[in-house]
Subunit: 250 residues, 2 copies
């Protein structure tokens, strides 16, 4: 038995953003497990079984991966972006924590990836170039009042902010409430970026002032970045540059 | 004239964590610019000039890179980790913002990298698996009271936290004050991780409870991760797993 489990990040979409470390473990794997669109990014080959599953079954998927590793398979759990940022790593460790004692001693490693907020920030310039926070706006797994509290405290701390999962069909109103909270806490000129499908063929980047932002500017493929009060815009031909200076005066 | 400027992240240290995109632009560059230890990670070759400079000259370095790109060179500015997280991207855009108008229309792109906090989190498990914030503890470029305010608000928001630049010889007391603030805001059992030189030969990871943490556990090579109130530790043979569950109850 020489099974192992690797929980890896495939980055935001482009092959050129997958780390060589991740490419190497995919080449050694016997089984790849993950959400359908992420497993679809892994090339089929003899000796590799792809196990694609639907959204919201993360714990079942994790247990399946752990069972196979315990049986001696070389299993890769794939996430987009980084597996530790609102992705599969926490789900797998929840399954380990509540599972058989033997699972703890499996050979498990997490391999990092380029998470969406950093790919989006790179496209825009450097909006996260100073202190920032990262919030999952989905209230599937936490109460909405906690999200609201975090948004207000983050604005009061003058963090730049990155929002994952801003909006879905099942939660049409959450992002509208988010924009309303930001308008109560921040000035109307605050810069906000909508980065959709970064590094993929349908990539789109939009920069707005908070006063003009509307809920329809985001969907589940979008990462939203909100500048701090010090974030600046450099106008030029083509898309502007958005960056947060390193220096904050007294 | 077909000069360009790429501001790239080399990741935390291991070659296997450098993205293919970054490797490709390094192969096309005529000039590489950066802080001495990061430029030392780029292989010398004919046709490539390495421009290594000391710490704290980020704006001079940025202007030099922009001048060379304007003259037609293919210039890569290197940072460790991700260039947009407390690294060179903001410095370059500060130089663009205050420089000649023509610099705005240069072909400039930021290429993301694996930032230290995500590499450190991956090694430990998934401590940043829920909402989190990222704070540079150096007060070289911002007043200490702003850092203190951000620490307290982040703790009150129950964010997991990542700290860059926790401690240096010129700022021996800052991290001690940080631990004191955390002890005032968080419970003594709060999990704290010290991740030094992740992915490099001298890598070291240490997990402690906040009550036991001391300033000497961190240096400038260390990223410090602080769990939220929900972060858990899974004991096992070898180093424990630290993760933050996805679910937060009402």
């Amino acid at each position: 038995m020489s099974g192992w489990l690797r929980i890896v990040g495939l980055g935001p979409g482009a092959e050129a953003l997958v780390t060589p470390e991740v490419t190497a473990v995919l080449a050694e794997a016997t089984d790849v497990v993950g959400y359908i669109p992420y497993v679809a990014r892994v090339a089929e080959r003899p000796g590799l079984t792809l196990h694609a599953s639907d959204n919201r079954v993360e714990i079942d998927r994790s247990r399946h991966a752990l069972e196979m590793a315990a049986e001696g398979h070389r299993v890769v759990v794939v996430s987009s972006g980084d597996p530790g940022v609102f992705a599969m790593a926490s789900a797998v460790f929840e399954a380990v924590d509540s599972g058989p004692r033997a699972w703890r001693d499996l050979d498990i490693q997490v391999l990092p990836g380029i998470t969406a907020m950093l790919a989006a920030a790179a496209r825009a310039g450097a909006p996260l170039g100073h202190d920032f926070c990262c919030i999952n706006l989905s209230d599937n797994l936490k109460p909405w009042p906690l999200i609201e509290r975090r948004l207000r405290l983050a604005a009061q701390a003058d963090f730049a902010m990155a929002f994952y999962n801003p909006r879905s069909k099942s939660r049409p109103e959450g992002f509208e409430k988010t924009l309303q909270i930001l308008r109560e806490e921040c000035e109307p000129e605050r810069l906000i970026l909508f980065a959709r499908a970064v590094s993929r063929p349908d990539e789109a980047l939009r920069v707005a002032h908070l006063a003009e932002a509307t809920p329809e500017m985001a969907d589940m493929q979008t990462v939203v970045l909100v500048g701090s009060s010090r974030t600046r815009l450099i106008e030029r031909d083509g898309s502007p540059i958005v960056y947060t200076p390193r220096f904050t005066p007294e």
